[in-house]
């Protein structure tokens, strides 16, 4: 199987699995009747539909229709960007806005766009200043948010 087809099949199976999981998870909630639906009714229907469309997608990909509009993705340096966001989220309340902002700058630097030393310093300082101003004046959070220790 070529790459395109493999991608299509993998995507379809993933959706099918998600649909099945949703149907199973919806059974935790009260289903009710059509005239008086419980919280589980709508998700249950959607899970079923997702399961169905997952199978259809898998079938179409197996039949070899090329994936329209699929873009090239890799597990390489592009992952540094969500990693930066993730670190920001993990650090913002534990280590403060300054450290969290530094984490993003560091991750983009690691993604390798060819920083020079003075550029790193400049960009980082400007960003930290902007983000501190946004936290204190924009969000009106106490200054302990910047550097909690």
């Amino acid at each position: 199987m070529d790459v395109d087809r493999r991608k299509g099949v993998a995507g379809g199976l993933l959706v099918t699995l998600l649909g099945a999981a949703t149907v199973v998870a919806s059974r935790e909630y009260d289903i009710g009747t059509p005239g008086n639906m419980g919280p589980g009714f709508f998700p249950m229907i959607l899970g079923g539909l997702l399961f169905l469309f997952g199978l259809l997608n898998t079938g179409v990909a197996m039949a070899g229709r090329p994936a329209e509009g699929a873009e090239r993705i890799t597990l390489g340096r592009s992952m540094m960007l969500p990693l930066g966001v993730l670190l920001f989220g993990l650090l913002i309340e534990r280590a403060g806005a300054v450290v969290a902002t530094l984490a993003i700058a560091g991750c983009v630097w690691m993604a390798g766009y060819g920083f020079r030393i003075w550029e790193i310093l400049l960009v980082t300082v400007v960003l930290v200043v902007i983000s501190c101003l946004m936290f204190i004046y924009g969000l009106q959070l106490p200054t302990t948010y910047l550097l909690p220790w």
Binding site: R72, P82, L83, V85
Partner: protein, 497 residues
Amino acid sequence: MEHFADLMHGFAVALQGENFLYCWIGAVLGTLVGVLPGLGPIATIAILLPVTFKIPAVASLIMLAGVYYGAHHAGSTTAIMLNMPGEPTSVVICFDGYPMARDGRAGPALCTSAISSFLAGCICVAIITLFSPPLAAAALKFGAAEYASLVVLALVATVAFSIGDFLKSSTMIILGLLLSTVGTDINSGAMRFTFGMNNVVDGVSFIAVAVGLFAVAELMLQTESPTPIRPAAKVRGLLPTRADLLASWAPILRGTGIGAIFGVMPGTGPLISSFASYTVEKSLARDPTRFGRGAIEGVAGPEAANNAAALTHFIPMLTLGIPAGAAMALMLGALMIHGISPGPRVMAENPDLFWGTVASMWIGNLMLLVLNLPLIGIWIRLLRMPRRFLYPAILVFCCIGVYSVINSYLDVLLAAGFGVLGYGLRGMGYSPSPLMLGLLLGRILEENLRRALLLSHGSVWIFIERPISCVLLVATAGLIAYMALPMLRRRIALPPH
């Protein structure tokens, strides 16, 4: 005609100091993101949403609207000057705009595109003024059954008209609907799919989802492609010749018509409109071979269609509360956060909001006309800004925006997760826009579906018995048939790039 008095009231609202300022900010920001590839209007609106919580609803909608049409307006600048579409919608402008610039006619191309946009904007503000009130009046009669059917029609239309695989678009819509069920169930108070995360009790933050899918994922996709630095064309002389103007006026009017119609329909919007207009102009031309080599009609028509669609795209959101695209879905979310329940009542109960926004579109388009042309040099220089400066800044703004909604770090983690998910989905050919639409419409659909079936004691006949609902469902069935019969499925031929 009575509604033109309302429109005048709208002008009074939009010209108030604060609103005027936000209109200006929106238009400039829109131009900026329209020029910068990689940051589109949807991502910008998502990042700006938290800011709008702090300003009045009218001003925030005016600003977000400015970002939206400003971006569509400005995308063509880089298309003409650098053969680089700032927005996907201006891909078509590259076909003839860049050849014109290479021939030393960048000035006339830019000027024609600005004039086309502005004329289309004027006509579309009039169209919105004429057609929105009757539409809202009709929608006032809608009950739960009609609303549920309308949402279904909108979702199916999104699938039917969007570019790309309709199986995948449907899958994305269902996924979006499913995401909307996360959180507290309004009727029973039960917690659904929260998995113990307290940030999703009131539902998944659509801002986190939008930032992840449209900002983070987009930047990730761009890391794979090296920054193309193309030589910018020189601008010599701005004014189009008499012949240019004579050749342009008919394409502008046709483009406006095409854009106005496509803009209202869910799923189509500016992108398809500009392609459709290009195809029409090419087929009407006496000498179609000129197209692709600098035909001014190929700039004027699509540019008018693009801007027209960007404006009429607002009609379903403002009058029915049903967004026709992902950007509109986000604006709908902004209104809901301001405590305004979007729908046909907005026009009567909140005339400042409705007419102020419509009037601001005209003012904003005028600003763009005045602002864009003299500042082209600055936009081009901004475009050359290396990514290593741009990316950290965009990511920091994204994170702060997502965090600030309810000051939850979990939302930031969610945005990171949706970034990876969006990246993976794009890699498999799934588009994130239908997901966004499903997420914002899911609650409306579920609520109305449940209410309608409660009234009918569980009988689905209620959707057929009520005439308006029946018509909407017949239209839905028609669309499904149109998709299921590929022989009937006429595609707009995409010209070779």
